[in-house]
Symmetry: C2
Subunit: 282 residues, 2 copies
């Protein structure tokens, strides 16, 4: 099985490592705009061989794991090249736009839109982790538009890597993910910004910040190159979540200004319900 | 050494466990408003013996680890009872108000205001953790107002438990901690609220939320009984941080509305600087 991974960052790299481990006949070819990342991926064993777009003809599976703006251009090009039995999996964090872009492509049936909900705040080949996808959810969108045999091939890979599969239309995916992922990133980035702006003396932050702050602000370490196009593609949903978040923060502030601490207590008590929701998340 | 711990939650309980381990001559007496917690603390070995306020006369060290509103009442009462050589350590998350309350107490020199920056989102005796304070920062306020011999006693305990000590006036403590701790909690609580409100179908949140969301919202599991009085005591500083946070979020939203994604990229890139700040935080 010839597997081509385009984009050898955290997600692409981790998929390569797991596929190598579980599919002994898989030969992994790597493609990346960064020659440094490509060389690094080869050296640390993420890929078996470097490749270029012209090699894609011999691909059985192509995984595209690059920023979502670049995906819009690259995926149709890759579809043009691959053979009729090849499966192209996109693993980007937004799904509606890419599904629209490929909707009328002659090889639409070769394409599968997926979003494995996994990752860390780090990026690049060295951020790749073995077993990253075990017990993680993988959202598949518009599965009915992918050829049945290729659906089967994709599911074999996903289930072998330990993923739980959920099916969703691309519009719902983007709407829900705005709340549980995109808003979290903005919340963390702006928390980081607020603290950095205020605390000119870094030493004070460093000394007083505990594990709670570190956890809440962790996502502010994430890659701007990856996240800017995600926010751009999911603009409408993200703005809606931001509006609601800001309104909730303003209400909380007003409760404080009015010394309505019994209601502040209730707000927090009600939100403690998040415990039950989080229980299943590692 | 007779050590009395008033309030056998996460912090009081963890201090008890560590003091027992490192000071073999320490006998730990527990006091708690909750008879259940008291009994639980005895059964799981957090304390050696239950006690009441009238026993405080024989204390060598008293640690008060209770919600900061109750502390304002309890600490002067405890000071009234303890003997002249006894050290009373307060470990609450706000420092200005308690320092004001005890300022003119005849036994002010027996009191030491501290804030060990350590903890988790859990509470109660069962949340106590051995070694919680190792390599954690402990902020001590107005150290010069504590008797020199009692400062020495406190530092011996803190350094034996592995804490790094920083000195600060109580006003600065409350101002800085509003940014790196109190704001993080509100940010997490309101994120949790926003997501819960929107996603009536819990199953969807559960399936799509990854480790990033879990990390960002983690503090929303925290105890409202502990946090409401903290926000109340630190109202002015917390409202200031909230204002700045809301302004930053609004600016981010406006950048999105104006399709100014190059600037969104810059905002995130600049905030990535948080990496350096967080490097030292476990």
């Amino acid at each position: 099985m010839n597997v081509f991974v385009i984009g050898l960052g955290l997600i692409g790299g981790s998929l390569s490592l797991d596929i190598q481990e579980h599919f002994v006949d898989a030969k992994i070819y790597g493609i990346d705009v960064s020659e440094n990342h490509l060389q690094e991926a080869l050296e640390i064993g993420i890929i078996h061989e470097k490749a270029t777009f012209s090699d894609l003809e011999k691909a059985d599976v192509v995984i595209v794991s690059i920023p979502v703006d670049v995906q819009l251009q690259v995926i149709p090009e890759v579809l043009d090249i691959i053979n009729d039995d090849c499966l192209l999996i996109d693993v980007g964090s937004t799904k509606e736009m890419i599904c629209t872009v490929v909707a009328n492509h002659p090889k639409r049936r070769n394409f599968l839109a997926a979003h494995p909900i996994a990752g860390t705040e780090f990026s690049g080949p060295k951020a790749a982790i073995k077993g990253l996808f075990k017990n993680k959810t993988n959202i598949i969108c518009e599965v009915e538009k992918t050829a049945f045999k290729l659906q089967e091939k994709a599911l074999e890979i996903f289930s072998t890597l330990g993923m739980r599969i959920r099916y969703m239309d691309s519009k719902s995916h983007d709407k829900h993910i705005a709340y549980v992922s995109h808003l979290s990133h903005i919340s963390a980035f702006m928390l980081g910004k607020t603290v950095i702006e205020k605390e000119k003396n870094e030493r004070d932050i460093f000394d007083m910040a505990g594990s709670g702050f570190a956890s809440t602000v962790r996502l502010a370490k994430s890659s701007p190159a990856m996240w800017t196009p995600i926010f751009e593609q999911n603009k409408t949903n993200v703005i809606e979540t931001l509006n609601e978040y800001i309104i909730n923060l303003q209400q909380f502030k007003e409760l404080m200004e009015n010394d309505n601490f019994p209601e502040i207590y209730n707000e927090m008590k009600n939100t403690n319900y998040i415990k039950q929701i989080l229980n299943g998340i590692k």
